[in-house]
Assembly symmetry: C2
């Protein structure tokens, strides 16, 4: 999911330079084309069926690292819709091509397959009026459904795009998945072949142009442990962990670009009257600014080492502790300028539909292309949602066709 909606910037006017003037007006120009009109009509007509597909995909569980069943279903849909070279890559991503008049520009248009919900979660979706309820129904079954809606509308409008689109269902977008699907896409499967990247993620109409980077650690202090009284005088892993957390708690970080730190989980020890043999924590560091994140990362690592040394020194090396630090998450960050053509296009097509364009920041599949300097944007899939990542997740289908329509227009714009 787009893990955060931070600032909403209403775009009243975009500064126009030669390069992006085209992008800034692409929405209105597309809307005037007969083929596009036909496709947009198809989208309004097809939306109820798209919502059905959304539910159908969502009732196939896709736990972290086990997206296979949902991937197989999406692959079958891609094939049925006439995409070419439909396949599942080595990471588990589902790919299908819709060739344009030319191979380039090559646009990847994606949504993620995985959910945060563990195997065995009841993934039945229920419906009350316009509201769908079910785990993952917005994040990101909506994105997958939008992909289907865009392909079907293009087919219905008999649209041939100038460039080629590869539609992709990615794996591993959530949490410890650590963007492994999209990483594989850019490092292996489509390495060097992607000109523009779009991820459709979740409900709403926002446009995410800022990729918040993150680094996550699992840290453990370890020692021999012993009786709290009998062995008193040995270094204590929990005490070392406390020293480290206290240092982290007082770190100073820039306000702009927003840079954050969090010790999210801790554990350790077997009983109140034992010196623990292990204490651990999980740390989350974030920033949209690469340099700020790198600096924060170095400070935290230094704090971890200092805490180890202090606890060892406190007891003269008796029961000497060791530190085990594992990088368990690494999402590079970055920002696509507000006036970059891909953002200008996303804003233009949104406004062409009479909708308000808001720019957000978040951590999504787009982090990877953005960090590589490849134009990328994450757009919401329409409708509105709440309770993402909870079992009570909801998706309100009211006007959800707007999300599909906006996605279609953006796909068309980026192939030009």
């Amino acid at each position: 999911m787009k893990t955060v909606l931070f600032t909403s910037i209403t775009l009243l006017a975009l500064s126009a330079t030669a390069g992006q003037e085209q992008a800034a007006t692409i929405g209105a120009r597309l809307m005037a084309e007969p083929g596009v009109k036909a496709a947009l009509d198809a989208i309004r007509r097809n939306e109820p069926q798209i919502v059905e597909e959304q539910v159908r995909l969502c009732e196939i569980e896709a736990p972290p690292f086990k997206e296979g069943k949902r991937a197989a279903a999406l692959r079958a849909m891609f094939a049925a819709l006439g995409l070419k070279n439909v396949r599942i890559d080595a990471a588990g991503n589902v790919l299908g091509e819709r060739p344009g008049a030319s191979a380039s520009p090559h646009v990847v248009f994606s949504a993620h397959l995985d959910t945060v919900f563990p195997e065995g979660t009841n993934v039945r979706t229920s419906r009350e009026g316009p509201i769908l309820k079910g785990p993952g129904i917005g994040d990101d079954c909506r994105g997958l459904a939008v992909l289907i809606g865009v392909i079907r509308a293009m087919n219905d409008g008999r649209l041939q795009t100038p460039g080629t689109i590869t539609f992709v269902g990615t794996v591993g977008e959530e949490g410890l998945g650590d963007l492994r699907g999209v990483k594989h896409l850019f490092q292996q499967e489509l390495k060097g072949k992607v000109d523009r990247f779009v991820s459709v993620d979740g409900a709403g109409l926002g446009i995410t142009h800022t990729a918040v980077g993150s680094r996550r650690y699992r840290v453990a202090y370890k020692g021999p442990g012993g009786h709290s009284y009998g062995a008193f005088g040995l270094a204590n892993p929990i005490h070392a962990l406390g020293r480290a957390i206290a240092k982290i708690a007082d770190l100073q970080v820039p306000k702009e670009p927003k840079t954050t730190f969090n010790v999210g989980r801790i554990g350790g020890g077997t009983s109140v009257n034992s010196i623990a043999f292990e204490a651990w924590m999980e740390i989350d560091l974030r920033s949209a600014d690469k340099a700020a994140l790198t600096a924060l990362d170095a400070t935290v690592i230094k704090a971890l080492d200092e805490a180890l040394a202090e606890e060892n020194d406190r007891w003269g090396g008796r029961g000497r502790l060791t530190l085990d630090r594992k990088l368990v998450g690494d999402r590079p960050g970055g920002q696509v300028p507000v006036d970059a053509p891909i953002i200008a296009a996303a804003v233009s097509v949104t406004q062409a539909l009479g909708l308000k364009a808001t720019l957000d920041e978040g951590s999504t599949d787009s982090n990877i292309p953005i960090s590589l300097g490849i134009p990328a944007v994450t757009i919401d899939g329409g409708g509105s949602g709440k309770g993402a990542h909870s079992l009570d997740e909801q998706f309100d289908t009211t006007n959800s066709w707007q999300g599909t329509a906006r996605a279609l227009l953006l796909a068309l714009a980026l192939t030009r």
Copy 2:
């Protein structure tokens, strides 16, 4: 159990003053009495049967707070051995009196019923040569067996004691039981009526004269929690906990009397990318010195409060945290001087049997009378043991009669 064997002081000579000269020679004098000789002969003869009783009691489970079944069995044994006024008190302790020539001195001679093992633990005891294996077989089925052995030997030797002995099986000696059985004994059941107190606890031949006091806390910091990035800027309960632990980690405590602190267990948080709504720890503070423990206690409470204030101040009161501090253990400490008559008597009877007397410190049922200024001692029950508090607990019966014999002599000495 006697939770700790810290120092072993071999007593070569005890300074003799008028008052304790009698106590210091009581062992040899008792051994010369024909009735006592007969009783000691009975002990050697009876020991195999006593070990059978030890196994039989131990195969009746006695989990924390659920000692009832074992208590009922002990009650039946007390009655069968002819004790008077056999009863189970309001706390669950089993009591039975062996009246002497006079009501005083009134000696309580006890062992604890409870184990650390949860309900459903397999409490079968196996035997290989002299070694018994089973949960609780030493701690404290041995103590209970010694009580039975002492009563039987007194009966066999037709010994009438000058003072009266109440034999007691106590509940709640272990861990979170927090000495509730012996507390009830001194606060209610036998309040103001006990002149001398002996606890027989575990295997070996040590004499515990120093009662290590302890205070235990469960501490939780609580706040609203939120997303690690979106809600950054709220106080973090884990960070507050870390600040508190870091302060505790640097506390200075006296070496003599040994005074200790330990954060034994920690937990908190739901995911790496969430600000936790709760973080908790369990703290163990110990000292044989009441003043040192009180001072340490106050310092820790201050550290907990300061950590709360610092984390709240760090974020200007946003996501203000609260602190929940529960006292979950309170064992008063103290020390019976090495030259006090009860310790002199324990040493004397040990040496009269040709055994080495070693003085230990620990946390046992004797903590309560010692803290009240009532002469008290905890003695080991003989034999030798290992793995107390583990499922692999063992008791070696080799020469275990010595423990029973020493207990008999001490009981006789203290009734004079």
